[in-house]
């Protein structure tokens, strides 16, 4: 198996570019859903110990909403769409207003909220995965149905770490931030912020770099 510690800059750039293409497509999908402009940053690529994933992402106690999908096939990976609870609430609100006009109740049942977040995550992650698989030229991939959770950051990443921990100790994460600017509020203020995180399976990285001709 590939030694995760020995990536050169060319390889890291290639991995970052894959994340960039995937995030670009996810951003376009989100933009279509919300009919507004989405800003995205160049993804960060980092090698993180699975045991300290939650420290990497900040406050372990923070309440976040997350959508999780597994993609299997030639290029196996896990993708998580994650945002602070306040941001998720704003996003759902914006989405429902977009779809139904102003006629939405001020307080929605949790199920509606979770279902909306799950669907946004589903569309974004699917766009992300389609773009990535197309770029690296895999023949087929199959996505799981989305799983949604709203809980402490640490407990959500705990699940991710356990899954990854079955395969290795270090995880290569590709992390991209998407922002909707023209909205009041949000955890960081001045807009909705969300992240897409991809964790390629350890054996999938070799395929990825091979297909991109940088192995």
């Amino acid at each position: 198996m590939l030694d995760l510690g020995s990536f050169n800059t060319l390889q890291l750039d290639a991995i970052r570019e894959v994340g960039n293409i995937g995030t670009g497509c996810a951003a376009t999908a989100l933009s279509d859903m919300l009919s507004c402009t989405i800003r995205m940053a160049v993804p960060e690529v980092a090698l993180v110990s699975v045991y300290s994933l939650s420290e990497y992402y900040g406050n372990p106690d923070a309440i976040v909403a997350a959508v999780f999908m597994r993609s299997s096939g030639e290029f196996g990976c896990s993708v998580i769409f994650i945002q602070k609870e306040e941001d998720a609430a704003l996003l759902v609100d914006l989405l429902l207003r977009q779809q139904f006009g102003g006629a939405i109740p001020s307080s929605m049942p949790e199920e509606v909220y979770d279902s909306a977040i799950s669907e946004v995550g589903n569309i974004m992650i699917s766009s992300f995965l389609n773009a990535v698989n197309m770029m690296i030229g895999t023949h087929k991939h199959e996505n799981s149905v989305p799983g949604v959770a709203r809980d402490m950051l640490a407990s959500i990443l705990d699940v991710v770490a356990s899954m990854f921990g079955q395969m290795g100790e270090m995880a290569l994460i590709i992390d991209a931030e998407l922002r909707v600017d023209n909205v009041k509020g949000g955890a960081k203020g001045g807009g909705i912020s969300s992240n897409i995180i991809m964790l390629p399976d350890p054996d999938a990285l070799e395929l990825l770099l091979g297909k991109l001709k940088v192995l």
Binding site: V50, Y51, S52, L53, S54, P60, D61, I63, A66, F68, R70, S71, S72, S78, E142, N143, S144, V145, P146, G147, V148, A149, R150, D151, M152, L153, A154, S155, I156, L157, D158, V159, A161, S162, M163, G165, Q166, E169
Partner: protein, 170 residues
Amino acid sequence: MSGGAGGGGTVYHVGMADLVVANAPATLITLGLGSCIGLVIYDTVAKVAGMAHIMLPESRGAKVEKLGKFADTAVPALVSEMLQKGAEKLRMKAKLAGGAQMFAMPGTGAGSDFLAVGARNVKETTRMLSHFGIALLASDTGGNKGRTVEFCTNTWMLTIKTLGRGTSEI
């Protein structure tokens, strides 16, 4: 790793795949358990308590660097470290929490057995405890919510905080 705290003795944060054994007075804390298990074994006479943050059920004979990672390595490691600190096997008792299935996914699509890891963690940890003849006095497992657990040697109680359900003690 440790620091002073009022009343609860030394406070230890038990990170993912870690295990900590401490003499009383001590407070052992694990933040945000999802599918993982927070296992406590203690001996109230020798006043020793240990906590492990177990991620997966079985090591399958692999070389394990962090013994707390797997149920089948964490339980023996906790027991032997407790024996060294003066505990006795016959007096050891256990409590555990965790093993949630955080992401509810309908059907049995790709990756579903990955996600059932919480239930497998509970089963294997329980099996290991009975293998060592340690009584499991209380547990709070399953569901779809994360847990933060805190074990204090003043009361020998495991406090469990869950989002939306508040705090309980077992």
